[in-house]
């Protein structure tokens, strides 16, 4: 065994202080045996996308080490990266297709399973057209999988019902980028951390979520001229502990706080008028809208002290460079897109974008969610094309050699929550779920279980494990995991990595790519000339096809190849003739993708989500200027009252990814955070007579869970439950946070609201549950007050 540190105890490792160029390399490694060879890949356990090599011995994965040449991590890895691969070797992998017979899932051949799927598909299409079929995919697959799936859905079946778990984690990032800059695509790069004078983390517990990015920030904080750090989060997280200013708003009040900051900055005259005039439209509206948000009013609504707000505004207004990030605290909260856009506005009015040290990370939750957006597996059209733009549709039709009318573009694509609603109502009859676990991750789980159980819904689950969702399937397809297939994916700063196949998948498990290809063949999808619609057979051929689709679009991959991606670092798109080695920043000249031919959307009403039309857009076409769009404040729809008197917010832990399907199968990660809990403030705990470790029943209008209590580190009136925990390893106790959450979503991005719900707490009855709490307390030696 070789391990460079115990990353369970020492999450971020040793500091390598620095500033500016040449971020020092630090190779993190953990192998349980000496590998006989190493295979290039990147980590798929968060959106950082760290380059790593997979160590292989005798055809088995035995460990990983960071890639020192990679611009994403310079060799570093966090606990999930260092341990997550263990899941690949888990004995409970799915190795054979399963088909439901007489109510039970029984083993079947691939032939039998696929024929059944094809038979069902054809029957449904016959009766209802493609509108009877929905796809619900993941933020875990590769470009090659997503692009193939997108073409099958859009040009084969012709269904607008294709979305996925990325709707829960990343939809607002995409929406906010489109609103401000015309298309998706992150303006900044991790490199901005190296030079920046100020980092503003909004609703983003980066210390826990993107441990390797946090290492880079810690290294800057330990080096010369450290950046100022401003953190906005209702919890006193490990990230917030390091902040110069910690703004702690109540759930649902991001817009008042951001508007308050913008107002102070404008009042102080800290805006870059030259930049505003040359490169933006809409500033006057913003000025008018934020004017009412005095620090006192912000304090009244959000609970953030006016003094702290002033301190933060002073720093943000004066800093010569600024790096801002946003994640679920913004994206899964009230008026998510409108709030995320205010962060873009901050950069636009200060002219801090597209240059070293000044970037915006509208973060993603999942490692490959950027690719669902690029490839069109989340409902968007491939290559950031605009469903309202006929020319864009024609480009795709030409590329795929199909009639433009088969490509669904009559209305915005169906978002995830609506797909589930159609299934609930019975107009979607087949739901194909790949690589994700909605029975734990979606809001209001009792409702989701009811839908999955419906007699008239044919459910396909394609996964590596028997998840909480797979148990409801009619057909289960065993999928290969990362490391068992080749493909590419892109992190939040447009950096594309290749992940080579290191080992064979277990049993009969197959790569998602092969499964989709097989389906397309069996369905006989054809182009206009009767040739097969899907013209590729290998991942590399699929990548080449995708490159063509991306040609000339902002996410231009045409300068990349499997060969170019192999051997060195990941490469940032656009990578083409103009940028043969990729581009660190985009929008360096203040020209944005807002010209009507270019833009990915004609825009929305930020409050209602109403889609603007081509005609509306033509009237304002800013031809390359960025949009500054203000946001009105709308209070959350469910607020604490006498009965349900506390706010619930949900979130993530450092040791787990998503619903623990993989991280829960790595013993060390499992043991580091074995169970869920409810975090309560000291004041609320005292008022309710709750002691550390007590088993507490937390109830909302939608369900209830029982959790051991953890006290402290959170604002009074707010409780927190991590959302990772479901039932596969503990079916005894109701504990998934999403039993409590609301079925509701942002009007623009359609991302569900996981960050607020009204709940009540009461002590659970003594007995077995109490003991679980005690046991948990003993194994869990994590610092209780500093939330990671």
């Amino acid at each position: 065994m070789n391990q460079t540190r115990d990353s369970i105890k020492d999450i971020w490792g040793e500091r390598t202080p620095y500033k500016g160029e040449n971020y020092p390399v630090r190779i993190d490694e953990r192998t349980i045996e000496e590998p006989d060879h190493w295979v290039q890949s990147a980590c798929v356990l968060c959106s950082t996308g760290c380059g790593l090599d997979i160590g292989v011995k005798d055809g088995k994965i035995v460990g990983v080490r960071g890639r020192g040449v990679d611009i994403s991590n310079y060799g570093r890895l966090g606990p999930k990266g260092l341990y997550g691969w263990i899941a690949n070797n888990s004995p409970d992998r799915l190795t054979k297709p399963l088909v439901r017979k007489n109510g039970k899932l029984v083993e079947a051949s691939w032939n039998e399973a696929m024929n059944l799927i094809v038979e069902q598909s054809k029957k449904i299409i016959d009766k209802q057209t493609g509108l009877g079929i929905g796809f619900y995919t993941s933020g875990q697959l590769f470009i090659e999988d997503y692009y193939t799936l997108a073409v099958i859905g859009k040009a084969g079946i012709g269904t607008p019902h294709m979305d996925g778990n990325t709707r829960l984690c990343t939809a607002t990032a995409a929406a906010a980028l489109k609103v401000s800059f015309g298309t998706d695509g992150q303006p900044g790069a991790y490199k901005d951390i190296d030079d920046t004078d100020c980092i503003f983390l909004v609703g983003h517990n980066i210390a826990s979520q993107q441990t390797v990015l946090w290492m880079r920030i810690l290294d800057r904080l330990a080096g010369p001229n450290p950046p100022k750090l401003i953190v906005m989060d209702p919890r006193k997280t490990a990230t917030a502990e390091k902040a110069d200013v910690h703004l702690d708003p109540l759930p649902g009040t991001n817009i008042p706080v951001l508007n308050g900051l913008l107002n102070l900055i404008i009042q102080a005259g800290d805006v870059n008028e030259e930049y505003i005039n040359a490169h933006t439209v809409g500033f006057e509206e913003l000025k008018k809208t934020v004017a009412q948000w005095t620090p006192e009013k912000v304090e009244e609504i959000s609970g953030v002290s006016s003094e702290k707000l002033r301190m933060a505004a002073h720093i943000l207004g004066k800093t010569p460079t600024l790096l801002s990030t946003a994640l679920q605290g913004v994206y899964q909260s009230m008026k998510a897109t409108a709030a995320a856009v205010q962060i873009n506005n901050l950069h636009l009015i200060r002219g801090l974008i597209g240059k070293p040290g000044s970037g915006i990370f509208q973060m993603n939750g999942q490692p490959t969610s950027q690719n669902t957006r690029e490839c069109g597996a989340d409902g968007d059209l491939p290559g950031f094309r605009n469903w309202g733009n006929k020319e864009h549709i024609n480009q795709l039709a030409k590329l795929w050699n199909v009639d433009p009318d088969i490509i669904p573009h009559w209305a915005p694509p169906t978002h995830a929550m609506e797909i589930w609603r159609y299934a609930e109502q019975g107009s979607i009859k087949m739901l194909w779920i790949s690589g994700t676990n909605p029975a734990v991750s979606l809001p209001e789980l009792s409702r989701i279980r009811k839908i999955l159980e419906k007699e008239d819904l044919f459910v396909i689950v394609q996964d590596a494990f028997m998840t909480e969702t797979a148990v409801y399937a009619d057909v289960v397809l065993p999928a290969a995991l990362w490391g068992e297939k080749t493909g590419t994916f892109t992190n939040i700063t447009r950096t594309v990595h290749i992940s080579h196949k290191a080992v064979e998948p277990p049993g009969e498990a197959k790569p998602d790519f092969d499964i989709f290809l097989d389906y397309a063949k069996r369905m006989g999808f054809c182009d206009k000339d009767g040739n097969p619609l899907i013209k590729w057979n290998t991942p590399e051929e699929a990548f080449e096809a995708w490159k063509e689709c991306s040609r000339g679009r902002p996410c231009d991959y045409t300068g990349m190849s499997y060969a170019k991606l192999t051997g060195g670092s990941g490469i940032q798109w656009p990578c083409n003739e103009k940028h043969p080695d990729g581009a660190v920043h985009i929008y360096t000249d203040g020209m944005f993708n807002t010209a009507i031919e270019e833009s990915e959307s004609y825009g929305h009403d930020l409050i209602t989500g109403a889609a603007h039309t081509e005609k509306d857009y033509k009237a304002i076409d800013p031809r390359g200027k960025a949009f500054i769009k203000p946001a009105e404040y709308i209070p959350p729809h469910e607020t604490p009252d006498e009965e349900y008197s506390l706010w619930l917010t949900t979130g993530r832990l450092v040791y787990h990814f998503h619903t623990r399907t993989k991280t829960g199968r790595a013993k060390e990660l499992y043991d580091a955070a074995p169970d869920s809990y409810v975090q309560v403030s000291e004041e609320d705990a005292a008022a309710l007579g709750i002691a550390e470790g007590d088993m507490i029943e937390v109830a909302s209008r939608r369900g209830s869970v029982t959790q051991p209590a953890r006290i402290g580190g959170i604002k009074k009136g707010v409780v927190f439950i991590p959302f990772h925990y479901g039932y596969w390893d503990n079916p005894e106790r109701s504990r998934a946070a999403n039993e409590l959450t609301i079925t509701e979503w942002d009007a623009v991005s359609k991302q569900p609201h996981f960050k607020y719900a009204a709940v009540k707490l009461s002590k659970a009855k003594e007995g077995v549950l109490h003991k679980i709490g005690e046991a948990l307390n003993m194994v869990n030696d994590q610092p209780q007050k500093m939330e990671v």
Partner: protein, 152 residues
């Protein structure tokens, strides 16, 4: 002058819109976005009713008794089934358009009278109804194929 009558018509139109949005919100509460958005859009109309009040008083002499013809024409049957949502949104859309065009007409008169405050109010009326219309249209467009083709 008939302007008083027209102001009352506009006011009644907003009052009816507010009620109709609330009706649809309650009736289709199983659609979370409809439930909350219709409540919000109802609150816009309700607020406008209040804002029109001073003008209704100001021009109260200038009116006759032309009967209104808005809400009663809509939502008469209690529709059920998959089509109901689409039909109800369609009715809301018609009402919002009615409100929109009356605001445009009223603004002409406000301009003739050089009543700057009334002009401003008309602008707000027009803008708000445009936003209502635009949301309704978006929602109907996305619901239509599923309701008309795939639903039982």
């Amino acid at each position: 002058m008939h302007i008083g009558t027209y102001i009352e018509l506009v006011q009644k139109g907003q009052q009816d819109s507010a009620e109709a949005f609330l009706l649809v919100s309650a009736k289709h509460a199983a659609e979370p976005d409809i439930k909350e958005m219709c409540k919000l859009l109802a609150s816009w109309s309700q607020l406008l009713v209040e804002k029109i009040k001073p003008f209704a008083e100001k021009y109260s002499e200038e009116k006759d008794n032309e009967p209104d013809r808005l809400l009663k024409d809509f939502f008469e049957q209690n529709r059920k089934g998959a089509l109901a949502l689409l039909r109800d949104l369609h009715d809301l859309w018609l009402m919002a358009n009615e409100a929109n065009v009356s605001a445009i007409i009223l603004r002409q008169a406000a301009q003739g009278l050089r009543d700057k405050e009334l002009m401003q109010l008309c602008d707000e009326l027009e803008k708000k109804s445009e936003r209502q219309i635009s949301w309704l249209l978006t929602r109907m467009k996305s619901a239509a194929p599923q309701v008309l083709i795939a639903a039982a």
